[in-house]
């Protein structure tokens, strides 16, 4: 085996937060020209370790050696100078600036006059990066107007525009569809061959052997093992990671479909949705597949009354309904788990309990006074069911790990006991073990006679969990498959706009 020299050594890294030991004496060694996977359950400490390496969080103890030099890494700038570039798990783009401005933020190309920015060059270079990634995003588009996947690609472009020795990617693919992932992997391989060390975090297990060279497994803030991927089986890694073996990844239980709960006919939104019709029945899990920008989230928002529509009718439980605000939709028993938990799902400055109960506060209050006891009881139960890792129920959600935040959003809609659930990327950023639990939860919801519309970019999830699959392409439903007839090829074919077979 050709032992490449270690480019990065992190030794004995420890980080404590009030009530939580995020990292305890963690060691990590990464070589030049490898893709090093970091694997671990939600809250294992992966992001914290990476934030320390990126200078965004200060460690309590431990040494970091980059390229033979001990590095203090007291600020993101120092880390940048040491050759570290990072794509954070949560977006760090300035919403009101353009794509190009975001990519070059802090490193704007100077024009001839000092202090002025060479806009043309900046946009041209941004365009170049985006083309390398194979995405069609205008450099002068405002970031706020982009979808999650597009924003993710902008983050990638931004990280790539820094010539880094060490590139950290914290769940870069959690919001991407297969197409973009393939392109991203192509870029990653090119960088690796150029000698860049890439530290890669993901909960999509199929990516391990596709892109990884070595893997380090973490659990509860500790280093568990480091392995060569060529000689390690996936199941072994999962066992190391969750501390037990997982037998089934998609424990689908089919429930006979009951009466119709939701019917949408000819839903239109100019330029976005072109006459969408669909139905949801009790006990059904309907998967909604499609590429980035195909209008899946827009459809969900339109049904939920979060965006205005230009036409179409909706029936709930057989009665025509006017869903012109989320409040109206919620009153009729709809729930919408949004894809962007930070922007739309959570109030980060409130605690776990308050977020869990936010959509259903009426249930816990009499005459406007909230009963903390009742609230806590429900939050306690739901966080236990979902295995949310938090020191207590009063922890602010902002302090939870990404996957645990996602679980809190789920808890919010479970707490509401909505009957018609729209889940937009429900397992985004959730670890393998917990994913299975969420799938079981979806089964349970279906068995209770609820209906789930599940938007997902993870093909195995769509195939494994749906009774029926709808595929969107450019704002229309391009095809519908039963679980039995659906295959990855058929769905992809349909999603890129080729006529359904």
């Amino acid at each position: 085996m050709n032992e490449r020299p270690a480019l990065l050594q992190m030794q004995g890294i420890t980080k404590r937060y009030p009530g939580v030991v995020a990292l305890e004496e963690v060691d990590l060694e990464v070589r030049r020209g490898e893709v090093h996977f970091l694997l671990g359950e939600n809250g294992a400490g992966k992001s914290t370790l990476m934030k320390i390496l990126a200078g965004a969080v200060q460690r309590d103890a431990g040494t970091i050696i980059i390229d033979g030099c001990i590095s203090e890494l007291r600020s993101p700038r120092e880390a940048n100078d040491a050759g570290v570039s990072i794509i954070y798990q949560e977006f760090n783009l300035v919403p009101h600036l353009t794509v190009a401005e975001n990519i070059f933020l802090g490193r704007e190309p100077a024009a001839r006059l000092p202090g002025l920015i060479d806009r043309a060059r900046m946009e041209q270079e941004a365009q170049q990066r985006l083309t390398e990634l194979g995405v069609v995003i205008r450099p002068d588009a405002v970031v706020d107007d982009l979808g999650v996947a597009e924003q993710q690609m902008v983050e990638v472009a931004k990280a790539l525009s820094i010539d880094a020795k060490i590139l950290i990617m914290d769940e870069p693919t959690s919001a991407l569809t297969n197409q973009e992932i393939t392109r991203l992997f192509h870029v990653i391989r090119t960088l690796r061959d150029r000698g860049v060390a890439i530290i890669y975090i993901s909960h999509r297990m199929e990516e391990l052997h596709r892109i990884g060279d070595r893997v380090t497994v973490m659990r509860d803030g500790r280093h568990i093992a480091t392995r060569e991927l060529t000689s390690t089986h996936l199941n072994e890694l999962i066992t190391l990671m969750v501390g037990r073996a997982l037998t089934e990844h998609f424990p689908k239980v089919a429930v006979p479909a009951g009466e119709e709960l939701l019917r949408v006919e000819g839903l239109k939104r100019t330029g976005v949705l072109h006459g969408i019709s669909l139905t949801l029945h009790r006990g059904e899990v309907v998967g909604l597949a499609g590429l980035m920008g195909s209008g899946r989230t827009e459809l969900a928002r339109a049904i939920f009354g979060a965006d205005p529509v230009d036409g179409g009718r909706i029936w709930v439980r057989g009665k025509e309904a006017k869903l012109d605000s989320p409040r109206a939709a919620i009153a009729l028993g709809l729930g919408f788990l949004t894809e962007d938990r930070k922007r739309q799902g959570l109030v980060l400055g409130l605690d776990v309990t308050a977020n869990t109960c936010l959509a259903n506060l009426d249930r816990f209050s009499a005459a406007g006074i909230v009963s903390p006891g009742q609230e806590m009881a429900v939050a306690k139960k739901l966080t236990a069911d979902l295995r949310v890792k938090t020191p207590d129920l009063h922890q602010l959600v902002v302090n939870l790990s990404g996957g645990n935040q996602q679980k809190v959003v789920l808890a919010k809609w479970l707490c509401r006991e909505a009957e018609i659930l729209i889940f937009d990327e429900p397992t985004r950023g959730i670890d393998v073990g917990s994913k299975v639990e969420i799938y079981q939860l979806i089964n349970r919801l279906a068995a209770e006679g609820k209906a789930v519309l599940m938007i997902s970019s993870e093909m195995p999830e769509i195939l494994g969990m749906s009774d029926r699959i709808l595929v969107m392409h450019r704002g229309s439903i391009a095809g519908e498959f039963s679980a039995a007839e659906a295959t990855q090829e058929k769905i992809l074919h349909c999603a890129v706009g080729a006529k359904a077979a």
Partner: protein, 315 residues
């Protein structure tokens, strides 16, 4: 595990409290008269108006808004109440009229902000001028003076040794704290300020609650005007000039974030007391009012610096 966690979460409030205690200690060493009962009551009296207005601003600022019009609303409510009293309206009705005018002005702010989608800064800047103008208009620019003894009792009276205004302030704070921490209204105030979009998508009637928050803020300015008018025995159309700034300062010193989503009523009370103690202490020490302004400005900046520092050191 639990206790350090709790402590960490309330670090800011302990910080404010520590500043308050240190401040009192320093002043009482420099001038022993500071700690006399009469002077302490004096400080409380002087803090009451600002403290009550600041409660409203705390709600507004937690909801990620701002209200610049409270000083003008105070003046307008005051003169309307004064005229009502002058016209012979029974005391409770006149007071209700004053508070209602404040609430109404606040509700108009709320309507403009929530339903008209105006930025809070603009809407309340407009109201600041409109309410002031209205106060001058209805009085022709002249103060309304000379009220009954029973009305003045609201400022001069005592219940078991506690001045009535201080009692009112305590009641307002207990209620405001309870509402902020234990009711839907309070919870939604935090949610709206913390993430309006998430609140909306969770079915929170965001616009209605915004309207309510500004109405409460205006109403509290109206309540403050009752005490001020009773104390001065006169309702002045030019009362309350720049009171909004004092109230914002108290709120910010108390640790409420101008970005919204974070804050506490207890902090605001401490903030108002810090400002009151500082003014009083500097007066006792015979420091010129010019220097006082400089000192108070510096304290506001120091408080926010402390806040930023605390937040960053937790990384």
């Amino acid at each position: 595990m639990k206790i350090p966690n709790r402590l960490a979460r309330n670090a800011r409030q302990f910080g404010t409290f520590a500043v308050f205690v240190v401040l009192c200690a320093v002043i009482s060493i420099l001038t022993p008269h500071f700690l006399s009962v009469s002077n302490l009551l004096n400080v409380a009296q002087q803090t009451v108006i600002n403290a009550i207005i600041a409660v409203g601003l705390t709600y507004v600022i937690i909801s990620a808004g701002i209200d610049l019009s409270v000083g003008s609303i105070l003046a307008f409510s005051g003169v309307v109440m004064g005229q009502a009293l002058g016209a012979g309206l029974p005391l409770p009705l006149a007071i209700a009229a004053g508070v209602a005018v404040g609430t109404g002005c606040g509700a108009v702010n709320g309507l403009l902000i929530a339903y008209g989608r105006l930025p809070p800064f603009i809407a309340t800047l407009g109201m600041m001028s409109v309410a002031r103008g209205a106060a001058l208009l209805v009085t022709d620019g002249r103060p309304v003076s000379g009220f009954s003894e029973s009305f003045r009792w609201l400022a001069t009276g005592e219940v078991m040794g506690v001045p009535v205004p201080v009692l009112i302030m305590i009641l307002v704070y207990v209620a405001a704290h309870f509402v902020l921490r234990r009711t839907k209204f309070g919870r939604y105030t935090f949610a709206i300020g913390g993430n309006e979009e998430a609140a909306l998508l969770s079915g929170v009637p965001v616009r209605l609650y915004k309207l309510g928050i500004y109405a409460v803020c205006g109403g509290l300015a109206g309540l403050a005007s009752v005490i001020l008018t009773a104390r001065l025995n006169s309702a002045q159309p030019i009362a309350g000039l720049s009171y909004e700034l004092d109230a914002i300062a108290a709120t910010v010193i108390g640790g409420t974030s101008l970005m919204g989503g974070r804050g506490s009523v207890v902090g605001t009370l401490l903030g108002a007391l810090i400002m009151g103690v500082l003014r009083n202490g500097l007066n006792l020490l015979g420091v010129s009012s010019f220097i006082q302004q400089v000192v108070i400005g510096a304290v506001i900046i120091a408080a926010v610096l402390l806040d930023t520092f605390l937040k960053n050191s937790k990384r």
